[in-house]
């Protein structure tokens, strides 16, 4: 199977402070990969490097074999990377419809399909996104990323801080996306939910990938040591 996304020994820094010391991972077409680790271990930094919001210092990042080094964030997004950033980042003054329209690019995903995935958004189309509930904003952030018609969807803590019922709704959406064959890189703390959706996982510890494999191979000792669960 061909690799959609491949990171080899990626390192990155925030100014003089090095945050990643060698992250490697591989995500195949149509698969879901969970990126795991405790807070501050480099998950979001890895995602920022993949989406080129933070340039990596060493190693390589390849999307469908194309080296992303030297490309800017909009170019990477246009290559097919849809990012749902941490913290439900919608464009607050714009309406739901405007948030979706602004990201739209040609492809199978359109507003009707996003609404079919998250029917709640259909009832809120004309509403300014800052007035949505947290869960609705998260659905909108996922919908906006889908409107870019990505070949790879990255979800960074998509269900953090949401009510259990809303989390279920979002996980159901993610499972549906997986069933439709979309490749997904997901960061989340809920091991229970990740087990239902992820084909494999990579664990980060102090900015390094320390383990990778099917989630079912994670032993209680490993989860205790690396995930603090």
């Amino acid at each position: 199977m061909s690799a959609l996304l491949e990171l080899s020994d990626v390192s990155a820094s925030y100014g003089p402070v090095q945050a990643l010391f060698g992250v490697s991972l591989r995500l195949d077409e149509g698969k879901v990969l969970a990126l795991m680790g405790r807070n501050g271990m480099g998950k979001t930094t890895t995602i920022r490097c993949i989406s080129r919001l933070l340039p990596h210092r060493g190693g390589s990042i390849r999307l469908r074999g194309k080296d992303l080094g030297g490309l800017n964030a909009p170019r990477v997004a246009r290559l097919g990377l849809g990012l749902v950033p941490e913290g439900r980042r919608c464009f607050a003054p714009l309406t739901v419809a405007e948030n979706l329209t602004v990201a739209a690019r040609l492809g199978p995903w359109d507003i009707a399909r996003v609404v079919a995935l998250f029917p709640r958004l259909g009832e809120r189309m004309g509403q300014v996104s800052r007035t949505l509930s947290g869960g609705e904003q998260q659905m909108l952030a996922i919908g906006r990323a889908l409107m870019t018609n990505p070949s790879l969807l990255i979800l960074d803590e998509a269900t953090e801080g949401l009510a259990p019922v809303v989390r279920q709704e979002i996980w159901a959406g993610v499972r549906q996306l997986k069933a439709e064959g979309l490749s997904i890189l997901v960061v989340d703390k809920s091991l229970k939910e990740l087990e239902t959706v992820a084909d494999s996982a990579v664990v980060l510890e102090r900015g390094q990938s320390v383990w990778s494999g099917p989630l079912s191979d994670l032993t209680p000792e490993m989860t205790d040591r690396w995930l603090g669960v």
Partner: protein
């Protein structure tokens, strides 16, 4: 719902300006027609800046450069046409507004492309300073340009011509200016509601988030800056014709500040905000200017009040007032 309400307010404000112009003409108040024309022209300059400042978050403190370029385009072309002295390549200038406006807009657009390409590499206070620096450079250039009057400016004695109209008649010139303002408002409204406009507003809200969905911030901002400058230049050309005089003061930072005041007073990012702001400014200047030379002190207090207590400007206040009225009616 909000859009509809604001749309009605916009129509009311523009309609009020037209009504004042026509009403004053019917009442034989030529001076008031000229004041309404001045509001339309300065409002148009504000509509231009509002695109960059209100929708794009680009706090340009150098829009006087484009206002002045528009003005000087009108003045220079008109003076060459009047003197019969060729301007360049055998082109002898023009006193036709339909020639002057595109020249003014293209010249300002080109200047904005150059200024924007450099200044958009910076942000925040540095962007403000770079745009101001460019405007001041052009200001000092105009002062030291004796060919076109230098510090004394340049007078042209007959207002430029528009086919089928007598531009010297206040009401006819008002009609031209108000029509252009109306067109600029429609254009500005269409731009801000288009996908381009949404991208612009997304970038203003969070540039990094916008780039993550594939929006290229710099080209969008630069295009907006150029369009904004071209609209402001058109206002400059009209202003030159209104006064039949251009001077380096059109380029000065005071002018940039005034255009910004129109936008802030009326409501940043509100379509008709600059018209409301310009109208308030002209009204204060006219009414209080008779009482004291220091009328701008009151303007300063008003501006302070708006910034502190009504960030939506005059349009925001009107919207809030209408909301309160509706709520009161509903309660009864």
């Amino acid at each position: 719902m909000t859009m509809n309400r604001e749309f009605i307010i916009n129509i009311m404000i523009f309609g009020l300006l037209i009504a004042v112009g026509i009403g004053a003409h019917l009442a034989g108040q030529g001076f008031t027609v000229t004041l309404a024309t001045k509001v339309a022209i300065l409002g148009l300059a504000g509509v231009g800046l509002n695109l960059a400042l209100g929708y794009g978050g680009l706090v340009s403190f150098g829009h006087a450069a484009f206002f002045g370029i528009g003005g000087y385009a009108a003045g220079v072309l008109a003076s060459h046409a009047a003197n019969g002295d060729p301007l360049m390549f055998g082109f002898g200038g023009s006193n036709q507004m339909l020639v002057i406006w595109p020249v003014a807009m293209l010249a300002a657009g080109f200047a904005a492309l150059m200024i924007g390409a450099l200044s958009l590499r910076t942000s925040g206070v540095y962007f403000i300073m770079v745009t101001l620096a460019f405007a001041q450079m052009i200001y000092y250039f105009a002062i030291s340009w004796p060919r076109y009057g230098g510090e004394d400016g340049l007078s042209f004695y007959v207002r430029n011509a528009f086919p089928g109209m007598n531009t010297l008649k206040p009401i006819e010139y008002f009609t031209i200016c108000a029509s252009l303002l109306g067109l600029a408002l429609v254009f500005s409204g269409l731009v801000t509601q288009s996908r381009f406009g949404l991208a612009l507003q997304s970038i203003r809200q969070n540039p990094q988030r916008a780039t993550a969905v594939g929006i290229r911030a710099t080209p969008v901002r630069l295009t907006t800056f150029v369009i904004s400058a071209m609209i402001t230049a058109l206002a400059g050309a009209l202003y030159a014709d209104l006064n039949r005089f251009v001077s380096p003061s059109m380029f000065s930072w005071h002018m940039s500040g005034e255009i910004m005041v129109f936008v802030i007073l009326g409501g940043v990012g509100r379509l008709c905000g600059p018209i409301a702001g310009a109208a308030m400014f002209i009204l204060l200047e006219h009414l209080l200017g008779k009482v004291s030379d220091h009328w701008q002190a009151l303007l300063g207090l008003m501006l302070l009040g708006i910034v502190l207590f009504a960030p939506g400007g005059l349009i925001g206040l009107i919207t809030k007032g209408l909301d309160a009225l509706r709520k009161e009616k509903a309660d009864v």
